[in-house]
């Protein structure tokens, strides 16, 4: 398989994006945690103030496999900031459907994201990977990524809605 196209996601890609988000969550055995809907994705990515950006990988008709999906991979990212180093690109999700792996699609997506990061004056690209996802960790490390959790002891923390609401009304 040779032909694929990387492009910026459009509003009509939202059903495919949600499908791929769920496939990735299933791969990480966390499928039940996805509570996002197509409506959320549409408002949050394609409204006046996008919370995320997305690129998709699609294949032409004759190369579509399972259920004739044209969109077979995606990457979702946004920009954060560290006052010491400036803008950062934060890669939230990155996934290629299993039957399309091994053709360099993931590699091209990552390169495109890096190019985007440099073009938008980001000094770094950050992302989170499940420790159990050894193929992905190796994929990134082969391309020069540092595992800051292992090397520098960085940990990711989350505060959920229940606690956020509680804090937001505290005096």
């Amino acid at each position: 398989m040779a032909n694929f196209n990387l492009r910026k996601a459009q509003p009509n890609d939202v059903p495919d994006i949600l499908r791929l988000i769920k496939e990735l969550a299933k791969y990480e055995e966390m499928e039940e945690k996805v509570i996002l809907t197509e409506k959320d994705l549409l408002e949050d990515g394609f409204g006046d103030h996008p919370f995320y950006h997305c690129i998709v990988a699609e294949v032409p008709g004759e190369q579509q496999k399972r259920e004739h999906h044209a969109v077979i991979g995606f990457a979702m990212y946004y920009f954060t900031y560290d006052p010491w180093i400036g803008k950062l690109l934060y890669l939230e999700d990155f996934f290629v459907m299993e039957e399309y792996r091994g053709f360099g699609i993931g590699s091209q997506i990552l390169k495109h994201l890096s190019h985007m990061a440099v073009k938008t004056r980001c000094s770094s690209m950050h992302f989170i990977v499940a420790e159990s996802n050894k193929p992905s960790i190796e994929f990134y490390k082969r391309r020069g990524a540092s595992d800051l959790s292992l090397e520098e002891g960085w940990r990711l923390f989350k505060i959920d809605k229940k606690h956020l609401l509680k804090m937001s009304v505290e005096e």
Partner: protein, 172 residues
Amino acid sequence: MDFRIRPPKPDDFKDVFRMVTELSLLDKSPDLQISREELKQDLFCETPFLQCLIAEVPAHCKTWEGHTTVAYTLFTNAYCTWNGRAVYLGDFYVMPECRGKGVGRALLSTVAKVGKEQHCAIMLTEMRGNTPLIDFYIAKGGEDLTVTERRHFLRFDGDALDKLAQEAPQCT
């Protein structure tokens, strides 16, 4: 202690930068990679790259060195494909002599309030070391995903990022 939490104005930048520097010295961070002017511009441009809140005390409560701006936090919007809109908490700092007086709690609560106004479902942050700040977040309901979900934080920067970028294809 009497204090007020508010967004900074351009005149407040010298205090924000002072505290960014104080925090980086405490954290033993490497040298600043962006200029002071770039940070000021990114904070106060028409569509800022980040949000900031500061804590200000009245003049009669000023610090030993005479400062009335005693704490700050920096945060951005983020997105989680499981929950949706999120707040990404970056720097969070209260001057040591002003700790234990509710300033940190008020600062974090105000970020949570801003997040609520923006319909954010969660707040994320990255920390390292076994600091009192980690204990503070955990007391407020923070979950260490590196422990509970075994999630690792990876980074491409400097040469690794440049090298990868140079190999990028055209995207239509």
